[in-house]
């Protein structure tokens, strides 16, 4: 017998792509099904199979599906935008966040003005809405991004890179 391991009846997408035998304990098989060949092709093009193997081996098994999903997403973004990849998406979302924060500040100022100028005696108590929680319950965006610790704060606000 050439091999002790039984031959898999169906190779996973990774082993099919790399034209190798897919074993029972193939690391890729649970995450790259045979009916999703493009998924592995994208990840392979950006990261390479050996790097994906290392990344998955560093992650606990229960979290590997999420890790693969994030790698697939990053690969797709990189293929769509070879220069900025996911960073372009982050910069775009940050811009939208800053715009929303500005709009909320404007709305809050307007509401404060309305409540001081209106002639309705008990507007603040009869309003059907009860969302005014100081800063609208939002955490500071700057604090959030800094906490991620990746240095993506002020640089990305103006331009992805200085």
């Amino acid at each position: 017998m050439r091999s002790q391991e039984p031959r898999s009846s169906s190779s996973c997408a990774a082993c099919k792509f790399m034209k190798r035998r897919c074993t029972l304990h193939c690391l890729f098989a649970p995450y790259f099904r045979a009916d999703e060949p493009k998924k592995f092709a994208k990840v392979h093009k950006v990261f390479g199979a050996s790097n994906v193997t290392k990344i998955l081996n560093e992650v606990p098994e229960p979290q590997r599906q999420d890790a693969v999903n994030s790698l697939v997403f990053e690969a797709e973004q990189r293929l769509k935008d070879p220069v900025y990849g996911c960073i372009g998406a982050i910069a775009s979302l940050q811009d939208k966040m800053f715009q929303l924060q500005h709009d909320l500040a404007v709305a809050k100022a307007r509401l404060a003005r309305c409540s001081t100028r209106t002639s309705y005696p008990s507007c603040s108590t009869t309003s059907p809405f009860s969302m005014l929680d100081g800063e609208f319950g939002m955490t500071s965006f700057d604090a959030f991004v800094v906490d991620q610790g990746c240095g993506l704060t002020t640089e990305l606000r103006q331009h992805p890179f200085p």
């Binding site: 990261f47 990344i55 994030s70 997403f73 990849g85 939208k96 909320l104 809405f129 939002m138």
Partner: protein
């Protein structure tokens, strides 16, 4: 002496990539402008996830003027992946999505409150233009929703 002088010259001008691979750094090395030899950590960080040959292919396929930004973005993504091996920078994107959804919800409530006050109070200045502009800006135009709603929620 001549041999050592030549070796010193080669060593001092090698980029971080060629130094890592212990090879001669040619004058037209594609990596040299972006991986200087005084910052070896930058390359090891990127190489850990992408591999030098993939990085080289990516750089070759794009105009020269965009390569610096491409290397920066690869470096940021690699740093994110080191900090969060499971989600990498995708974790930041999902968190931003959540914060944007919260902010949109709060903004919608504020707009409704403003409209209520406008409709019921006397002497309040017209606000239709502000409300309308806020409503128009409420939508988030991006195509990143579907992957996250499928995976993480």
């Amino acid at each position: 002496m001549h041999r050592f002088h030549k070796l010193d010259k080669m060593t001092s001008t090698r980029c971080a990539v060629c130094k890592y691979f212990r090879r001669r750094c040619p004058p037209d090395c594609i990596f040299a402008p972006y991986f200087p030899n005084d910052n070896p950590q930058r390359f090891t960080c990127v190489h850990r996830f992408y591999g030098a040959s993939n990085i080289g292919k990516m750089l070759e396929e794009m105009p020269v003027q965009l390569r610096a930004d491409a290397v920066e973005s690869l470096y940021y993504e690699a740093k994110c992946r080191i900090q969060d091996p499971v989600y990498g920078c995708v974790g930041i994107i999902t968190s931003l999505h959540r914060q944007i959804q919260i902010a949109q919800s709060q903004l919608a409530k504020a707009q409704a409150e403003i409209s209520f006050l406008d409709a019921n109070f006397v002497g309040v200045e017209p606000t239709s233009s502000l409300s309308e502009s806020l409503v128009q800006q409420n939508g988030v135009e991006h195509d990143l929703d579907d992957p996250f709603s499928t995976w993480f929620y």
